[in-house]
Symmetry: D2
Subunit: 272 residues, 4 copies
């Protein structure tokens, strides 16, 4: 299984398909595994690169210290160098979208197109305090407490309610995922986001950008994506209707359509 | 301080002003104290009756057993009898709105007008699991954990962010409110809501009803109020813009205006 | 029937009830008659003053020349002087709201509270061209053409559809209202709005203000009211759900509740 | 220039690119010309077929009689036979979407995927009366009157306002497009939609379907698309934010992305 060293830390990555590179950046609770369902459709005509951030999935844990997003941005840069990529399309979800935006500011020339889903440009006090709630729940080291505090708000109320059988199954699966190690890593990942604020720097991003939100996103509400859209010149913007924060799971077809469709655009159109 | 006995339990209540009676039913975390700001404007020309449900404020705790909403409905009925009220206007917020709706179904003839703010007619699996997250947080008996898990979602993201100084002060105040006794009572109150579902019975309500929601209510989303409105014949419906679940605190003037205005209506108007 | 002279022009007005004065300013197609349904509930405890602007209802027509809103602002001022009013609550709908805002800027001290429903602070090019469409339709002097071009967009699609019998009756009634004189006056009233733009001056308004919009207002969309709300310090803001431009007709109870409720507020509340 | 005979009427069509066939159905005011901007991006890897309905563009006018949508559905079927197509992807906008839905019900087996943008399943009394306003304006045979009555409502208020220079240019261009012949054809096209109502038959559609709306569509409001989505099993649904009825012009990149992306999906995904 491919792996890169970042200092003495292992970074796990996976590559699917051939063609123009598309790098996918995980949300905070995700790992390479989370993309399985999507790989056949996403990697048909491109080279899709998945990887786990530090403290995620099969990459190394950082048990001994605090860090910020900055570190994960550098991990991404190291991976791009390691794979000898000159220019990639980069797509990030939530936490991954935040890393993507920061990478786009710092390493502009490596980006072809940029896609951010359910992302914010700023950890507001509101979001920070929600994160502290998650931390408090994680510190009980009771997987069910962490599940109930975090998961319901990641889905829209009706998706969760209409698919409650599936959610109950998921609750059981996550019961064994939410180990002490996982929860300790989660705490560090949450803390790494606390000082995040790039509102003033969005205007520096020149990549052709697609910003996608969901109207019932209760973690990074749609107006956060509208803010990003309003501050990245020429960016495109779609809000998925009747959908929560986990848009890739609630609306997988709309999710894939937007990615494949936006990547198919050869140049921006405008009638005016 | 006035007090009624319900069996061997004390029910604390307070009366302000003179005129047609208006009974206010607390949300789950509230008590009579929560209404202080509003009393001068609400009680100008009516008799406003506040009371604490069992397990709230200065009413008795029910340390030894579980119960359902049914019990609180009976407490309200007992209070109305105790005060020798023939007909009252009844207003409930969230938990209090749920009690108000059930009272309206069971004791229709005691109600003049009915007002429900930020209320649902059904504890969905989604809402039940959010409640379980609150319970998990409460069981840490750490006030800060309970605060972070519950409070941010009660406000809209921007109110919380724009008034963060005030929220920080509130965090300190609530630090001493969220005692072990309070949190144990909170757990029982949450559990009392778990089986709640009156969707099929809303059509029985004949009172002239005002239903109010907030567009950024992340606990009882506005479409829950739209559901109530669609199923209570002739009910009126307003959604407060840019506002979270705690509409009375975020938009106190719109809140009072809607109450006083709706109560001033002598009969329903229609042009068609 | 009471009447005031403004120069050589007659201004028709009507007074209902006793108490604090509340002056109601008509929308462009309205006249004193339009308020009939509401008078019993509105004038219970206040003195309500209705009047027709120049080129409306029973006031004089201005057949010979063009004019701007400025003229109607002065008519309002003259009426206030004529009635010897020191301070009034002023409520305007659409065209009337525009006059109310301009009056509030110019004659601040005469205003107690200000209420504007379905109003804009600027005739955008979009709105101007819609107005030109109305003018084009008016110039056919065919009442049915004017009806079909203007009326459907004044209601929300579902109100119009659900109450189509009533709309059909109204179509017949308006067939005899939309005379050549009426349509010529309408053209002048539309033209009087074309240069309207007070966006930069909203910040001068100090009156306690309520701004109300409707989410399906297709003439002055709700974001125009949000703009007004964002620029009048301390103003209150409500958007009526599932409602079109003619909110007073579609949601008469919510309409009256908001007016009576807001006027009942003795002072602005805030928890922060 | 390719042309098919339908009885004694000419049907103008155009073909671009090679690959799986995608047939585009015009909105009521459109013609093959309207798609020019999009052809390079749409026809890269597919065979795109444009055509003008009867009474549109370069196809024959039907000066002598009234007809319904049924006729246009048969024109589409004839074209598919003429081109010897076994199965096509079909995309319709507004009027074209209505024809597409009816074709999908009647000739299911010829459809691979179905895409409808800014479409309704029913000409409501509201929409019918708006159509009558357009007819009244068309009968003045004054291009400017028809422009002002129809065009502003086809765009969102801010697009129209922000791009007013472009709109003014367009007004001049359309001044020479809106000839007497064009307006007479427009009247017949509007009348052909008056009795349209397939609400009860949407459930018969089995094609994999994408439904797209715009949140500021003032002609076929987004809830009409939600209705279609709710009644076509397994359909996908996106609402483009801050966008009016003419979504292809206001948001061309989102428009193309959704088409190309949805067509790239090999099969529907679901996590539940």
């Amino acid at each position: 299984m491919p792996e890169m060293l970042y200092g003495d830390k292992k970074i796990h990555y996976e590559i699917y398909g051939e063609g123009e590179p598309l790098i996918l950046l995980n949300g905070i609770m995700m790992s390479c595994l989370s993309w399985q369902l999507f790989m056949p459709q996403l990697s048909k005509d491109k080279k899709v690169i998945l990887f786990d951030f530090l403290d995620q999935g099969k990459s190394s844990a950082l048990s001994d210290n605090e860090y910020t997003h900055e570190l994960q941005v550098e991990v991404l840069k190291a991976l791009i160098d390691h794979l000898n990529i000159q220019k990639a399309n980069i797509l990030g979800i939530s936490y991954g979208g935040e890393i993507a935006l920061q990478f786009a500011i710092k390493y502009q020339k490596y980006i072809n197109k940029l896609l951010v889903f359910n992302t914010t440009s700023y950890t507001t006090p509101w979001l920070k305090d929600i994160g502290r709630g998650w931390i408090g729940a994680a510190r009980t080291f009771d997987p069910e407490v962490f599940y109930h505090v975090s998961i319901p708000y990641i889905y829209s109320p009706w998706f969760y309610t209409e698919n409650y059988q599936w959610m109950e199954t998921r609750k059981k699966v996550l019961g064994s995922v939410f180990t002490r190690d996982f929860l300790e890593a989660m705490i560090r990942l949450i803390i790494s986001s606390e000082g995040y604020d790039i509102r003033q720097r969005l205007c520096e991003i020149e990549a052709d950008t697609l910003v996608v939100g969901s109207d019932y996103d209760y973690v990074t509400p749609w107006f956060e994506q509208e803010y990003i859209h309003n501050h990245i010149r020429g960016s495109k913007f779609v809000v998925i209707k009747n959908c929560g924060h986990a848009s890739m799971y609630e609306k997988p077809n709309e999710f894939i359509s937007l990615i494949n469709g936006f990547l198919s655009l050869k140049k921006s159109l405008s009638i005016v």
